[in-house]
């Protein structure tokens, strides 16, 4: 397909943002990679068309930093864009994603709720984004607030699951802090390596063995899933041995899988939390 020819610098920045988002941030497949040539090309296009709008220029620079995994630099660029256009829902929703990547989950959800309430801007992914912000702390408050405001019951199951999972963790002596530690290791790795939406499924084993099972489903193939599993295993072991957190081992079973594996016959495969298995089998 021939590259689109923008008629104005404003349009050129708009096309640049589309290229970054559609090419490298949404609907990703496999292990993420972006060449330095592509990044340089994006930066050049942003600089050449700066006069097309400073807000779009800073937004583009923020997104390029996200692609490079330079999240603090991205945050600084987002703030510059927001200073120019404080009420732009596109800038704010993209900023909320960066905040989530920075593990600033509450701030990210507050921003999304502000966008929903103040600007009446509701994108179908926004509730999901608030859900993903809610998972690391098992804190459904923001999700409840957004769902109530939008008068939707489509998140009810997820809200119930978050509450129930938090309660059930006590049955296997997994503290919220331990859960947060594992999420804190897992989510940044998945984001960095795949730039895909982090979609976990939880279940608790409380038979002869006791642990929390975390399955992460990604748009990857078997080899890529193995590579990610091996990488997470090393990250976990390094963390445990560098921080004397041996208690984490044996309490979590974390496996990254391809999307298709979600549908292996499991009842209610889309659920966030499958519940407690208490069968006493060795």
């Amino acid at each position: 397909m021939a590259p689109r020819q923008p008629e104005t610098k404003e349009q050129a920045l708009h096309y640049l943002l589309e290229d970054i988002v559609e090419g490298y941030l949404v609907n990703q497949r496999g292990i993420a990679s972006v060449s330095s040539f592509v990044l340089k090309g994006f930066l050049k296009r942003a600089e050449e068309n700066k006069e097309g709008g400073l807000d779009a220029y800073y937004l583009a620079k923020a997104m390029i930093n996200v692609l490079q995994g330079r999240l603090n630099a991205a945050e600084a660029e987002f703030k510059k864009a927001i200073r120019i256009s404080p009420n732009d829902p596109i800038i704010l929703t993209n900023y909320s994603v960066a905040l989530r990547l920075l593990n600033k989950n509450a701030e990210s959800s507050e921003l999304l709720i502000k966008v929903i309430k103040s600007f009446g801007f509701v994108d179908k992914t926004m509730l999901n984004n608030i859900l993903f912000n809610s998972i690391p702390n098992l804190e459904p408050t923001y999700l409840q607030e957004a769902a109530e405001y939008l008068q939707t019951d489509e998140m009810n199951d997820d809200i119930d699951n978050l509450i129930l999972l938090k309660k059930d963790l006590q049955r296997i002596d997994v503290s919220l802090l331990e859960f947060q530690e594992i999420m804190g290791l897992l989510r940044p790795m998945v984001n960095k390596r795949t730039r895909q939406q982090f979609i976990p499924r939880f279940s608790i084993e409380n038979g002869l063995d006791k642990y929390l099972k975390i399955e992460i489903f990604l748009n990857v193939n078997t080899e890529e899933a193995s590579e990610l599993n091996s990488e997470f295993f090393d990250i976990l072991m390094d963390y445990v041995f560098e921080n004397d957190r041996h208690n984490l081992l044996g309490k979590f079973s974390v496996v990254l899988k391809q999307l298709e594996s979600r549908y292996d016959g499991t009842e209610n495969p889309e659920a966030l939390y499958l519940g407690v298995n208490e069968e006493l089998v060795a």
């Binding site: 002869l208 445990v240 081992l249 079973s253 594996s261």
Partner: protein, 167 residues
């Protein structure tokens, strides 16, 4: 006649070299036999290495009877409680492998996925390599490299040895 752990490994390798229908049953059998080879090898290590300790419950448990580990959990948790990295890696891998084996043996209504098959082989090899590495090298950082440099930090800075051959 009694069999050795080695025989269980032979069983798994023999399975690898054949195939039968339905493939799903074949894959489940490989997962099960592979898991038991790894599990029994790890158990043998705990039984034969005097420096390692069995743990029937968490060392900080206030109610050892209530918190008693399951028979398989006891093996992987004893390895984890050793706080020796290569053994903790085996312990954590056995947990994952055990979960897969339970799916394979008991959850007949669930499909064994390509991820499951691939993971089972990775767990099988990882446990075997690490147990053998530990038996030969003790508490060293697991590596497949043949040569390592030992480094110790002392008052006079970091002191390194020459290259040490790991078998």
């Amino acid at each position: 006649m009694a069999v050795e752990v080695e025989d269980i490994y032979k069983q798994k390798f023999a399975l690898d070299s054949i195939s039968f229908e339905p493939i799903e049953s074949y894959e489940r059998l490989k997962i099960t036999r592979g898991y038991y080879a790894a599990f029994l090898y790890a158990r043998q290590l705990l039984n034969t290495d005097d420096s390692l300790e069995w743990h029937s419950c968490h060392p900080n448990s206030k109610d050892p009877q209530k918190d008693r580990y399951g028979s398989h959990q006891k093996v992987y948790m004893s390895l984890i409680h050793s706080k020796i990295r290569v053994l903790s890696e085996i312990g954590q891998t056995l947990l994952l492998y055990h979960e897969l084996r339970k799916k394979s043996d008991y959850n007949l209504h669930l499909n064994i996925t390509p991820d499951d098959i691939s993971n089972a082989e990775i767990y099988f090899n990882s446990c075997k390599e690490r147990i053998e590495f530990y038996m030969k090298n003790g508490d060293q950082h697991f590596t497949k490299a043949k040569k390592v440099i030992n480094a110790t930090v002392g008052r006079n800075g970091v002191k390194t040895s020459g290259l040490k051959l790991l078998k």
